[in-house]
Structure formats: C-alpha cells, structure tokens
Symmetry: C2
C-alpha cells in the first residue's frame, strides 16, 4: 500500500515490521472508503489547513479549560464536537520551523530552516524542498496560501514559487505590530517604530540594524512575479488576514463551482499582536484570546460556507496552533501561559510542542472523538498527499519524516502510525519521545543519567516533565541511545541540506526604491570591500554544499 519508495526515518521501519499486517489491512479498507467518497463526490477531498500562533494545549476546544482561561472559541469547540480533538498533536517549537515541517513533511533540521526567520534574513526555504502544494498541484489540485508564510524573503521561497497557485502572504512574522508605536504601551517606550526613531551618532554602519526596504505583504500567482500589497503601516497589517479570508472564501467558491479539488493553507497573522488598544471582548483580555475570538468567527463562517456549497462532506479541515505559548520574552499583553504542559515557544518540553489541534470532515470523521495518539505536523504532508492521491509525487531522494495518518483520521484513537518523535529546538536534538517516555538529551547531568540528574520522563505520570524517573530509565535508556544512533546514522545516508540564501525581495514587479536599494547598496560596497558581501551571505550554503561534495 502507499508509495513504498518513500524514505522514512529509520525508526518507522521498526514500527511497520511489527504492525504491517493490520496496517496493510486498514490501508486497503481506507482506500475503498476514499474511492467510494471520490465516486460519490466526483473529486478527491478538499483540504484546508488553518494554523495560528503560540497557544498552549487546552486553551481552546475544552470548555472546562476555556472557563479557567477566560475565553471561548465556540466554533472551534463545534469542530471538536463534530470531529476530532487531538491531545497529542506535536509541532516544532517555533514559527518558521513549524511551518516548514507542516508544508514539507520534514524536520527543518533537514533543510536548514530550524530557526525563526527575521528581517532581513537574505534567505529562506529552498526551492529544492517539495511542499504539499507542489505535490497536490501535480495531482490536479487548486492551491492557495493566505497570511503568515514566515519562511524566507528570497524569491525561491515565495509560496507562489513553492507550488501555490494564488497567494497573499507576509514573508516575515508580525513585524509591523511588534514595531508599532502603540501596542499595549510598552513598544511605545522602546520606540522601534521608524517614525519615533532617534538619531544615533555612534552608529557608523547604515547597512546594519533597523533594515529598510523590507516588505510586509506580497501577493503572487504561480509563474508570475509577485507584487507588494499595501505598505509597511499598521493599517496594512490589520487588513492582511481580512483580505486573505475574503480571497479564501472566493477561492473556495470558485473551485466548488468548477468541481475542482482544492488545498488552502490559511495561517493567520494578526492573532498575537494588536496594533492599537481595543475594547476587550473576552473575559481574559489577552491579545491572543482577543485575536482568536475573531478567527473563531471566521472558522464558523467557513464551516457554514462549505455546508451551503454542499462540499463539507468532501472537505477536511485541520486547525491548530503552530507551537506552544510565547511565555519567554513575550511582548506585553499577550496573555499566554503554560498550563498542562511545561514550557512554551522555543522549548523542547511538551509545552513548546504540544498544541491545540482539531480535524473536521463531516461524514468521514466520526464526531466527538478525543484522539490520544501521537501525531506530528510533518504527518500532515504525507496524509494530505495520500488523501489527494498524490503520493507518487512525493520526493523519494530524501527522508520524509511525516507518516501517513489517514488511518488515525478515519479510524480514530489508537489507529495512529507514530509512537516516536525526535524533538529539535533549532539545530539541537533536544529530546526523543517513544510512547509515554521522553528522554531529554540536553541539560544538566547528562552524563549521570540517574536520580535528579536524569532527564527521563513518563509523560502520563508527569505531563510537565518535572521529575525524572530512575526505574524506566534503567530499562529503556539503552534503547533510546539506539533510537538516536539510528536517526543520526540515517542522517549520514540522507544528509541535511542548507537554507537557501540570496538577495531579498527580487521578483517583485512593483518593488520600491528602498527595496531595490538593499541589493544596490551591497553592489556598491562590493567594489570597495575586501570581501564579497553577496558571497558572504551565501557562504553558509557554500560550506554546506562543500561538505556534501556538491562543490569542491
């Protein structure tokens, strides 16, 4: 079943060997169900992926917890009641790597995208990476991307150059909101807004710090140049999601009318940060809660729209957060906290990587399910490809970390295909999980591995990873060492690739002079400098390629 040429991580083959009889049988049944659905509806299922920023597991979808946290998401609760609430949806621990994992099916360590991308990064997701949009496009899907891309500022990284037919996207994160002059008061004191910036007579280098010429939002179509949409203002920032939602509904209607299967990625931008004080509508009053209230309304509208178009029973929505709450060094007023799991954005503890997540597909997914299997966002890549009949277009020259979890969606709790996870924070392997046990690789006392110095946790007994346990460590420690060795040996066979590097914001038809000046200034400096600034920005890639033997 499936595409047996796909290279999984080494660990998966152990699982498959022990479960192949039941999994092959399940897969055959699934194939008939999908064929039956396709026959009835005349097309492969539509897929919508919604992913917002920075939220702790439990903060939404569970009414008891909603009461404690002081904000409600009635439509997302409806998704849970009509579909699946995942208790163990895992992500990478920060924005950029999480998006890369979801869209490529690969841990970002494998493509140099393990760290959060900031302006001006002169780099991004490599064109060599294969996205869900590319795979599904080949299988005949219409594809669209809206809002927060956050995977690079170079031309090859733009979503319309990564497989999406239609896009309206922010190449970075909530930059203008973070730099705004109002927020909830504190950014005003800091004064990063360009309008407020003082002169600094001690700074001699105008190419460094406070970059100019960056772009807040781009719209683009596959095969065409992009266009800057709006400007750098907060007014533009506030409109990006709203415009994206309008276009999303229009995109859905057009494809429904043409009976063409579609894939939409909507990763909203404005949840975390507001650009001006607003009258609070939630009991909590935190900025994420206030933003989610708006998004929740849109999700309700979307579900209703799909029903009224008659395609709800042929459309899968997966809605989730991209990582844990931003509890470390957050802008003020966000209202985020870790609760059930310890840690937040950036951490390899469960608080950083276990997120609220929901799946909805009326008629195909049984309503009211709580699914406690481990699932990782890379699995969405493989699962969406399977559902779209596009497995043959998945690349077979690299490790795909994502596993096909169609069985988990359609057969529910315990029918998942994953019981392990390698948890990276940046380029560091922070932990490895197998079933209920988790081994931290990084931290004090690594050598001892016993007593309080051990970092060996039972996630059921100790969801917050507070008290390392001796007894399971005795039995499983060596096995975890072997898991890691397998994972790293396999990495030698299928080596990691570097982040793409280049000149930012090429391929923009209406590029402003300031935007063009980013490269022009470096061109001028190049003539005078004892090194090549373009070569320099690419030097990381150069070394990586040399290491791989691609250059000499």
């Amino acid at each position: 079943m499936g595409n047996d040429k796909i290279i999984h991580d080494a660990e998966y083959y152990l699982l498959y060997e022990q479960n192949k009889d039941s999994w092959d049988k399940e897969d055959k049944e699934i194939e008939s169900r999908l064929e039956e659905c396709q026959k009835k509806k005349g097309a492969r299922p539509n897929i919508i992926h919604i992913m917002w920023d920075d939220m702790a597991f439990g903060d939404i979808g569970i009414p008891e917890m909603a009461a404690i946290r002081g904000f409600e998401a009635p439509n997302i609760e409806r998704m849970a009641k009509e579909g699946i609430l995942f208790t163990r949806m895992c992500t990478e621990p920060a924005c950029t790597p999480s998006r890369v994992a979801a869209i490529t099916g690969r841990h970002p360590i494998r493509n140099g995208m393990g760290k959060v991308d900031w302006p001006l990064s002169f780099g991004g997701l490599s064109g060599e990476e294969v996205t869900t949009a590319e795979v599904l496009s080949q299988a005949g899907y219409s594809t669209a991307f809206y809002s927060k891309w956050h995977m690079g500022d170079i031309e090859e990284s733009y979503p319309h150059n990564q497989g999406f037919d239609e896009t309206l996207f922010a190449p970075y994160n909530q930059v203008s909101a973070i730099w705004n002059s109002i927020a909830d008061g504190v950014n005003a004191c800091i004064g990063f807004d360009p309008e407020m910036r003082q002169k600094d007579p001690y700074l001699k280098d105008t190419t460094a710090l406070l970059p100019e010429g960056w772009i807040q939002c781009i719209e683009g179509k596959k095969g065409e140049q992009g266009r800057e949409w709006g400007d750098l203002s907060n007014e533009t920032y506030e409109k990006i999601d709203l415009e994206g939602e309008k276009r999303l509904i229009d995109f859905v209607r057009r494809n429904a009318k043409e009976k063409k299967p579609f894939f939409v990625t909507y990763w909203p931008l404005m949840l975390n940060l507001m650009t001006k004080p607003v009258k609070k509508e939630t009991l909590q009053g935190g900025m994420v809660a206030e933003g989610l209230k708006r998004l929740d309304g849109f999700i309700g509208q979307l579900m209703d729209e799909l029903k009224s178009l008659g395609i709800a029973d042929n459309t899968l929505i997966v809605a989730m957060a991209d990582n844990g709450p931003m509890i470390h060094n957050p802008p003020p007023g966000m209202g985020l906290a870790d609760t059930v799991f310890r840690g937040g954005k950036g951490d390899f503890t469960e608080g950083g990587i276990r997120v609220p997540a929901f799946a909805w597909w009326p008629g195909m997914i049984e309503p009211g399910q709580i699914v406690n299997d481990m699932i990782h966002e890379t699995d969405l890549f493989a699962t969406f490809a399977r559902l779209g009949g596009a497995e043959e277009y998945m690349p077979t020259d690299r490790v795909i970390d994502g596993l096909d979890q169609t069985s988990l969606l359609l057969n529910g709790d315990t029918h998942g295909r994953r019981d392990y996870l390698f948890v990276y924070s940046g380029d560091t392997l922070g932990a490895t999980t197998k079933g209920r046990f988790k081994r931290h690789w990084v931290g004090a006392g690594e050598g001892a591995g016993t007593g309080t110095a051990a970092a060996f946790y039972d996630l059921i007994l100790d969801p917050r990873e507070m008290s390392p346990l001796l007894v399971p460590m005795i039995h499983f420690s060596a096995q975890f060492e072997r898991m890691r060795m397998r994972h790293e040996k396999w990495m030698e066979m299928y080596p990691n690739r570097p982040k793409a590097r280049g000149i930012p914001f090429t391929g923009i038809s209406n590029a402003r002079p300031e935007t063009k000046a980013i490269a022009e200034r470096l061109e001028e400096l190049r003539k005078e400098l004892p090194f090549d600034p373009f070569e320099y920005i690419d030097i990381e890639r150069y070394f990586e390629l040399a290491k791989l033997g691609s250059v000499d």
Copy 2:
C-alpha cells in the same frame, strides 16, 4: 432570608450590600423550589458528601485530560454530564484542615486544626465545634460517617461524638499503608513496619517515636462508647472502605424505607496508598489512579441505587478531592502531578487548593453545567444546612466562613455568593483571592511589591501563578491590604479557639492493653517527672485560653 444572625467574615457583608436585591429575590425563588420539592418527595433532600485524597484539578471529569493523564472515571464523568463540574472548588491545602473546613464551615485557623494530624497527636477537633452532622441531626436527619476522619484521636473528636449517628472511621490517615512492608518497594527499604523494626541501642526514651497502642479503625454510635474495629494490619486497612461502602448502602436503604432524610459523609481511605503490588488496570498505573478506578465504580453503583430506590431526585451528591496532589515528598508510585495549576498538597497556590469537584441532583441541578464561580468547601456546611432547613441550628457565637451556595447549585454559573478567599497553609495566611486576582502574602520580596518581587497574580492570565503583575497591583494592592485588615480585625472580635487536647483513645469499650498503656505509662512517669506530662500536652490550649481571658 436565611438566618441573619449568622456571623460571616467581614468581607461578606460588602458583597451582600452590593447584591442584596438580586440575592434576596433569588433566595425567595429558591425557597419555593425547595418547598415544592419537599412537598413532592415528603422530606428534605438527602445529602451525600464524598471526598477523596490528593488530586489535581483536571485529573478527572474532563475526558481530554483523562486521556493525557491515562485514567478514566466514567461514573464521575457521568456525574459531570448529569450535573455540575466546578472549575473553582477551593479547599484547605491538606487533609486534616480540609476535613475540618468542610464539616464545620470554618477555616481551621479558627479552631486550631490548621495542620495535618499524626499519631499520636493527643488531640483533635474540639467538642465545642459544631458540625454539619450536629446541625442536620437537629433538623431530623439521620447521619452517618464512613472511612477517613483524620480529625483527632481523642474521645470528643470521634465522629459519633460530633453529631453522627453511625460511624466506621479511621482517626488518622493511611497509617498502616504508609508503614507497610511492601508498598511499591520503597517503604520496605525504610522498614517502618513494626515487624521489620531493628533495635536501636542509642534510643533511651520508649515514650517517643514509633508509638504503640494506636487504633486504625473505630466503629461507634451516637451516645455510645466506640469499639476498635479490626486491628493494625494491612488486611484491616484494605477492608475499611469496603465495609464502609456496604454500610453506606445499607444506611441509605434503611432511611429511604423509613422516608427519613439522611446525611452521609464518605471520605474514602484507601485511594492514595496500596498495601501490596497489584496488576495495574489503568494506563497511568499510579496508585491514586488505581484507587480512584475502584471508587468510581462505587459512585456509579451509588447513583444507580439512589435511582432504583426512587430517591435520586431528592438526593444531592457532592464529590470532590480534599486538596491538591501530593507532589512534595510523596510515597513512591502515587502518580500525582500538578498540571493546570501550580503546586500541590500543602501549598497555597491554586494547585494546592483547587480540586476536581462535582454536584449531582437529578431534576434540581441542570445537567451538563460547567460552573466557574469560586466556591470553598466551608460553603458546603452552610449550603447543606440551608438545604436541610437547619440554618437555625448553626452556631451564632463565632464566624462561619461558609456561605450559602444553594443559588449556585440551583441557578448555575455566575449565581455564586463568593468572590474572595483567605488561603491558609497551617496557621499562615498564605494568600488572599478576590475575583481573578490573588495576592501572596508570604514569599520573597514582600516589601517591594513590584516587578518580579511582587506576588500579585491574575489567575485567568496566569493560572499557575508564575508571573506577578505590576499593573493590577497598582490598582488593587491597597484594597487587598484592607481586606486582610478587615479579616484580622474581625478575628479579634471573634477569636480563634485552640485545638482540643487530651488522652488518646479513651471511650473505646474494647481497648487493648497497649492502648490503655499510652495513658498508664504517662501516669507512672508523672510521679517521677518534674513536670506533669498531661498538663504539658494540654499546655498549648492552656496558653490559648489564657490569651482569650478564659483562664487567668
């Protein structure tokens, strides 16, 4: 409405002044509903209070959390579905004070019972305290107590001397299980089991340490002497709950037959600690989870029994934990962890005092409610008295901290009567809560009250009390000071009383020689010692009485 002679804490009068119109109106409606119910059923409602040890909010009753914590309580989940799940039921932070608060309606600081009672304590709950059982007895209720009393080892403290008609009770906590020779391995190494005890040639005083003559379980009837039931063995320990449950069902049947209203307190004993290794039945495998599985079955049996007796619609069950999870210095294998709220047993953070809690009364309590109002276990005293038509028997010479929360039970979310709490740990006022805000009084940086040194928390934004907040502190700090001043001034007018002290285990008709020897040995020593050992054990009370002006 109600008994306006009851002395509440000062804070309550502020609330009443601002809400009296709506509360008086609600109370009139409630009175008619209760009268109508009584007319229909021919009796005041029956009341059953079930309270087990040491569990974090969220661990049971919420299926999503049950999945994460690896154990299910289907009958308790059914209670929630058919009744109320409280998100903010607060208790005192440890066993003895929690039980005292629930049964007297008073914070244990007021009666010297703020600390956990251990063998041989030579003391307990004073006969001057008035319990729910005494109040309801006067209103014509049959009353019974089963299992873990843990409020003293002296005659006046026994539950059959504190208002209960029928009792089978452990005067201490899970002593024999803690001292057992097996447990999950570790107590065996420590060897506290008397059979395993080595001789200690350096110990000269046989009256100190490892006391003998204590009693594990007593049965008693109001007006009669008690009897030791069973012995000190683990076998007896394991039978106490089972025997109690058998007697409880019999008691319910008898009273149903006689159409007599009844009040049952069942505080099971054996949840926390097991006396021998058992085959695990829950995914989690922790001792509390394994014990709760058994209790959950009994709760299901009880609900079914009430229905088949035709009295379910005239019976209120309140089921809850007595304090947060025992995460500090626990016996091994308990499987407890704090999750949503920080801290556990003994702590004044929410993790120590906010517990899983449920109310069930078919026909009177609306099904499927999540109730987010603050409620404290002392409120059960006042509420049960109100429901039993027994308010006139509540004492009027002392502060009753408990508030009548009948409106919360019958009218649901937001209809509670409490928005404040004084949180004690032992005799220390640890914190004061008002609405969503909580002021810690104890801890580093108390004087500064700002920045990281402040201890001023927003429980909605920050359920785990991790990040003190400056802004609300500015606005509310002085108000919290006044709340505390009012509370303490009021305490001067209605002074705290001491714990009762005395010779343990008098009033036992079948007392063993070892039990009698506790007093006899002291009698002998008294002749030789330069101080009176009996006076000494009472000296705390002596000083307290002197301070109150009762002695000179």
